[in-house]
């Protein structure tokens, strides 16, 4: 990374609130190219202080602004886009979080519609310094950044930026982090890539629907892989292979992720279907990414060291 002067920066003033092909590309990149993508936070920086209530400063459906679309040269429908996440650095020294009325995992929502009163709205602002988010009570959360949202465009649809799906999207899984490669289906020529919603830290499930939200510089390297088509996002770390399923109810998200992981084990590691199923019952790992977005996202994982030799 020493040669930062040669890394192209991608910035925009006009964010995208959907994943689709109906807007204007903000940049075009080549396979192999490393770029620094500057991303807004999920609130488009409208929540700067504890008095900036989301219910007042945000306007539906203009939520979770994405930097994109970014066209990737040479990516053809049916290919796989491989996005290597190299760095995620905050571009400010604080994060914000919030309890938003009728949003989150332990309240009625627009999907789980109830008559019960909503919880109090509340905004939190935490310093981000020395590699930690500093909460009250002396609680320090290690800085473990990732992009909550990373997507290609669906072929025909334009899907709201709060939603995850087969195309990636607002998965809110902490595994889309530096050091990992995120593979996404290419549904249209050029892939039409989006990212945003960087989190400095997040618990499993993103329980109240909001993490440690920050603006960021996200350094990635783009790659295009031809020949094999994937159905759902795949993530590779130095030690694990992982797949992400997004659906409701949560067991369907889990099932999608497991089946996609079995398909990967069959295609690249020589497993029979039942054999992979059997190994996962003993050694599969699963992360609850989000249980708050329009679809829940779960990650199925297996350690590469268990994939045999």
């Amino acid at each position: 990374m020493g040669d930062e002067g040669r890394v192209r920066e991608i910035r925009t003033d006009t964010y995208s609130y959907v994943f689709g092909t109906y807007g204007e590309p903000v940049a075009t990149v080549r396979p192999g190219e490393i770029v620094d993508i500057y991303t807004e936070d999920a609130f488009e920086s409208r929540v700067q202080d504890v008095d900036d209530l989301p219910s007042q400063v945000l306007t539906m459906p203009f939520l979770n602004p994405q930097t994109g679309p970014i066209v990737v040269e040479g990516a053809r429908k049916g290919d796989t886009l491989a996005v290597e996440i190299l760095e995620i650095e905050p571009t400010r020294d604080f994060v914000v979080s919030a309890h938003i009325p009728n949003f989150g995992g332990l309240t009625g929502t627009s999907a789980t519609a109830l008559l019960t009163p909503s919880l109090p709205e509340q905004v939190y602002k935490y310093p981000l310094r020395d590699g930690h988010v500093e909460l009250p009570r002396g609680i320090r959360l290690p800085y473990r950044p990732f992009v909550g949202t990373i997507a290609t465009a669906p072929e025909l649809e334009a899907i709201g930026a709060l939603t995850p799906g087969p195309f990636g999207g607002n998965m809110d899984v902490p595994d889309t982090c530096p050091g990992n490669i995120v593979r996404l289906p290419v549904n249209v020529d050029g892939a039409w890539f989006f990212t945003g919603d960087a989190h400095a830290s997040q618990g499993d499930g993103e329980l109240c629907g909001v993490a440690c939200e920050m603006t960021a510089r996200v350094r990635v390297r783009f790659g295009v892989e031809s020949g094999a088509t994937i159905a759902w996002p795949r993530i590779e770390s130095p030690t694990e292979i992982m797949t992400v399923g997004s659906a409701r109810p949560m067991e369907d998200a889990a099932r999608i992720a497991w089946v996609e992981l079995i398909r990967w084990m069959q295609a690249d590691y020589g497993f029979e279907e039942l054999e992979a199923y059997q190994l996962l019952t003993h050694a599969g790992r699963m992360r609850v990414g989000n249980m708050v977005d329009p679809q829940y996202s779960l990650v199925a994982k297996i350690d590469k060291s268990l994939l045999g030799s």
Copy 2:
């Protein structure tokens, strides 16, 4: 309806496979206007015989072709579009149905992803005559037509034509039938209306994912209602008020429909919230519209005669 010469016809050769505002309108109508909309079947007439297997003749994601967008003059964001369904007539003398691999209520699907083998693919073609669909064994299903799909456009999204949502869409609820008024939220100026997927008959749940599919002429009268914004589709028959919720799991679809019905009873019939909740526990009715689409659609109903005086 004697004066059919004065009813404008809306036909198209270029169908829409999403609900959104990114395509070209096929027509513009005025409030109060009656039009005959010609609709394709869900297979775009590519399944004409039992040898036309959907897995071979259909191309994802170009499914469930919609006639639209139709712009409604004077409809403003925040208004309600009231579509009075006057007639639905078949434009051919048969219907088709099918069991499609990994699609339907009693099989693994792309959402409920499993390792089990799929059921056999099979196509059915039934005569439609004398007010009946004629099945084998001498079974005659009364002709009870409705449009499976009826929608306005979301504000920013373009949603695939197989999906129902707050904007209506592919709800597959038999209550969107002649004699009823379907109210939909207007999310953008002009409403951008779509319809298609007429069914000659359908059971609750549309169990295998395919009903008695037909091409049709759909006569509707458009109205625009200002002043009150609705959150989810509302349907009114001569005897009932109804709301449609679309979500997964199915209980969330039910909850949405009930809450919207309570909001309607509060707004237009003078009920307190708890009072409406109490009446519905005793006298509410619920229909399972579909349990096969990307979101399930359930209809909550209450008889007008029980809404007091």
Copy 3:
């Protein structure tokens, strides 16, 4: 029914709060015998007035008292118990209903655990006369009685009386009403039958979790059918065959009911599996019985007139 002097009465002072074989039978009946079973209401008559708050007068887990176990002579494990419901008459002139904190379809519950405040607790008492339940606003609900709870014992388990399952139980489906035959699996010799929780009227879903609760005299005729084992409750009316599935999420309850209905159509009406599936997609009906109990209960139905000849 003219010879009422010869109908045996079954009453008890010691109710059962579980379905199982660990208590003492309150009666033994013979196949073909008609009996009048006296049942308590779901609150064991502790809610007599609007000041009798359930949260104060009820004691968990002593809820939904059942009259039973009633041993049916000659019923063997693997048989089917056929209970013909002949009459349900109230034994008092009012019903009660209630909104109970953290219970019901539109609130957080012990299963859908949330942080949101509960809705207000409120009790309702309605006159029952002249074939109607009389609500405020001049709303009159027709008297359409059924037993909310009707069960055989599981083989080993003792299941709380609020819960429905393969053994029947607290299904809260209005189809267990006079004129219909309810068939239940016999899991142990003697069947060990229970019933209670009569409702004077109920909407689909029993939305707030409480219907028009009453004490009742329930006249039934018991029958034992050997030779075929059923997996889930089956109900037969003069015009329909029906099955009840109980599970969460709601789509699983629906799937169970549909599959059991297909099994019935195969066994007794000569259908092939796919043929039955195909007919149900066009003509199946579905009722949401309850969406409030520990398992949701849905009823799948098909009109006998559509089962061919």
Copy 4:
């Protein structure tokens, strides 16, 4: 552990297939007492080789045999039973696993009833030696034992030994392992404790429904804690506090676990409710224990080091 001669052994020949109070206790223990409990495997040792197909050698509902009930002296209804797991040692040198028809996470099941064919039945037998389970391909799984099933009795119910719930039961969460304290609600005097179903290793979700099943010696120390009543199982490791929720759909299991964890943080660590909710959105961890049993079990966790000072 050097003084093993003084540890009492609890063995039985008559296992319990339900959690309840209707059977005969196999032992009575005192608070503070350390005992060695010998447990059967989930198949009651009937699957010893790859030809022993579960569908042939098992008899419903006599599944998952439990050692118990064990009465704990001095435990009163409303107390909490604290079970410190000290050791789990295999009592044979192999484990078994299996794919069982219509059972598991990626197939239709009795609850998710479908028409699709079942997957092939297959039994696996793996050596257990040198601290590893040895799978084909040279895959070695570290020996990480835990008891899949650990329960107190419900007050009135007798619940099948395959089912988890508020009382613990067949949770299949790897956190009920040596080094941890499992706290369970005491619902009846004496607590009536059960355990069994030891696993040598298990992946998250226990994907196919069967882990590395083994017979075992389980050394525990019993404790009784008065004064505070817990609603769901709580687990404490040297570094984390954890709660287990069991329900369907999976999001309800998650909600239960999170709410119980918040209650714990409020009661013992001085958090306000919203404050705990906020911390968990940033730092909570969640494990998918099982996604195959009658209720799914999820574990919510927070690191003790983040609970402030």
